[in-house]
Amino acid sequence: MRTLLKKTYFILIVQLLALMCFTMQAKSAVQEAVYLQTDRMTYIAGESVYYKMYVLDAASKKRSDLSKIGYIELRAPKSDPTLKIRVKVDAGLASGCFLLPDTLSSGNYQVVAFTSFMRNQGEKSFFQSNMVIVDRFDKTLDFKKIKSSPKDTNVCHQTDSLPWIRTDKKVYAPREKVVVSLGKTNYKANVSVSVYEESGDTSTDRSIVETLNGWSAKPLLTDYLPESRSKILRGRVIDAKTRKNIQTATVLLSCPDIVPNLQYATTNANGMFQMSLDTYYDGKELFFTLKDVPAGSNWKIEIEDNFNLSDKWEPELMTDKVLTDSFLLKSQDIVSINRSYELEEGVYEDTLPKKEPICPQLFRCPVKSIYTSDFIPLNDFREIAVEILPTVSIVKHDETYKARMVSFMGNEYADKEPAIFLDGVYVDDINKIMDLGSDRILKIDVIQTERAFGDLVFYGVISIISKSNEILKTKPASNSLRIKSDHSNISKSFVAINPNSIKDKHAPFFSQLLYWNPNLELMGSDHTEFEFFTSDNIGNYTIKVEGISDDGTPVSSSSCIKVITPENILVK
């Protein structure tokens, strides 16, 4: 008996331990971490920021294949984000560039990078890095530096981590070719390489090794699904007066197009709904509305901003101004010179193949199209229905119109109203299109039969394509919402300028960014070489290599070169 009890206790303890182990592992197994490398840390407003985003599995540090969408935000202290950039992530990597608006005021800025799935770990898990942006015409530079411990006062340094960076020389003349060799590593890795003029301020610069070593697992929520296919839009349906959550409400989404298109979602117990927005919706006007809203109710749709950060950034600033002004003034001059000589930083080119977007069409069956130009001019939609749409019946009751489809037999009407689409968008009320005459309508498609779109059933469809996007002129109902969808940032790459290719030999060639390659593959067994040219800008340049190996080892290495000239050609 005692032995049996002992055994039972033992099994229970083992099960408890295993359960604890499982819970801990499950929490860490599906967490993501993001690291963002930018080409530099100091910019002049109007310049481009080149970036490389690494989305990693937080536990193994290997590239994550889960999230396909990443978010980058730029914000000033105590302000809303200045820039919001959505990027496409492919096998844990994303690269491209974004332009800093000319209108940015001088000061400290923070770059925040994350995936939607990381919201489960809280905003503290987001990647954060500081940068300095200066207005080209601001010569006072009246802002204070962020308080942080300086890491290295030596401007030019060589790290001893792999891969070794070797250059053919240490000191170069302007417009001279530089050949860089990255030594053998015992692993394959994807790295990004930046060669930029050292500003002397390295305090805010955190390498991928430091960032990932400082990363710790956070309590895990399950509210946010990974954006493993496309952007996920989250929203809520509430009662506008009481702010009570509305359950099982059907939210419809469509956007202007030449074909009726639809997507829908049903709210859960918290009034929440989610929709997957693929590239089809990029940059389009999104029309949200609610289906079958009870009469007299005051429901409202609220959309969650995927870029939303709950807290404002409030960095601790130093008491006195310590920024290296001379460097910033020089940077301003270089940008001004390049602007006046219309010298671009580099050549941009698309690197990712474009995937054809899929339109969620309401129907894909043959329909009979009616072109209004084939008939005599008709004043409004009621006349159109009477004269040229024999299967549609429109009746007026209490100053409002209602539409019904005539059945195939022609002797009875459907019980419910058909779905009305104007310029591809679901319109919740036929009265909104009653003013449209044949002078404003191009084409009408009518489907007489009852149709299914997933679990939704429509009792016929009337789809109107107008001559000049009439849908944009309609007034949205109180339970509808119209928002503009953002674009995902187009992947562009930097191509270093070869000074020999500049036609005007007397034109100045100043650049603080000599080379940027976001996707350099280290093969492990062999050296990797790349080359670029120095510019007329003399100074110390850092060669920075950062990346992640196939087995999840963070790679960070740096070296430096000098560009000198006997004559001081820079106008200070």
């Binding site: 099994i11 295993a18 182990c21 592992q25 599995d57 043959p366 009852e450 299914a452 779109f453 997933g454």
Partner: protein
């Protein structure tokens, strides 16, 4: 010893399940945001009939590959050989809908043996077809030479029995052999002669092969075996 083994087993199980959670997250996303089937209401015939319009009489859980490349799993469908259309039972309202044919690229019906029968939409113009969006065929053999079977059901003359009309349906399968040059041969009757006539240059070799393998070309299985052997022996 038993206890140690038990402990090890539990730990392995749990680590596997933890690793699988990535896949679970993705499949959860896929199931929530799966594309929507579209179609028009299907009203089953109420007229008394003999024979069956459907390839599968019962609703079976199937997978549908859409022409957009998206896939939907776990939908209840039947293939109607008379209309050459796929009928979907919407489990949320139990209504039946005839799916938009041009939206379907492939579908897989589960049969009793727990295996699947693969159907594909071929863009073949059939003058007798009601819908111009091609025909649905069973993929019997895929290779250099492919064999597709259209499980067509034909409406024969109505029969009057005891003052009541019965509609008679009969299975009239059609066989399509696709050549590497994308040319299709259609066979409505299965026999050795019509098969050999399709390949006049290989007639002798094919006759030998049929004899050696004792193929009965009057049956669908015999034809499938013959096409398989032709692919294996690189006869074409």
């Amino acid at each position: 010893m038993k206890n140690i083994l038990y402990l090890a087993f539990l730990l392995i199980c749990f680590s596997i399940s933890a690793q699988n959670s990535v896949g679970t997250s993705i499949s959860k996303v896929d199931s929530i945001f799966s594309p929507k089937l579209t179609g028009e209401l299907y009203k089953p015939d109420t007229i008394s009939s003999r024979g069956e319009q459907f390839f599968n009489v019962q609703w079976v859980e199937s997978s549908v590959l859409l022409s957009t490349g998206e896939r939907i799993d776990g939908v209840k469908i039947k293939y109607n050989g008379f209309l050459d259309e796929v009928i979907w039972q919407n489990t949320s309202n139990f209504k039946q809908f005839q799916l938009d044919k041009s939206y379907i690229s492939d579908f897989w019906l589960k049969n009793d043996m727990d295996s699947t029968i693969h159907f594909q939409r071929l863009n073949i113009t059939d003058s007798t077809a009601r819908n111009p969006s091609g025909i649905f065929v069973e993929v019997a053999v895929e290779g250099k030479l492919s064999l597709y079977i259209q499980h067509k059901v034909s409406h024969l003359v109505d029969e009057l029995v005891a003052y009541k009309y019965f509609v008679i349906y009969e299975k009239t399968p059609l066989y399509y052999i696709k050549l590497p040059s994308n040319i299709y041969f259609r066979m409505s009757e299965l026999n050795r002669k019509s098969f050999l006539n399709l390949f006049p240059e290989q007639k002798k070799t094919l006759s030998k092969m049929i004899r050696a393998n004792r193929l009965n070309l009057k049956t669908a299985n015999g034809l499938i075996r013959a096409i398989d052997l032709m692919n294996q022996s690189r006869l074409y």
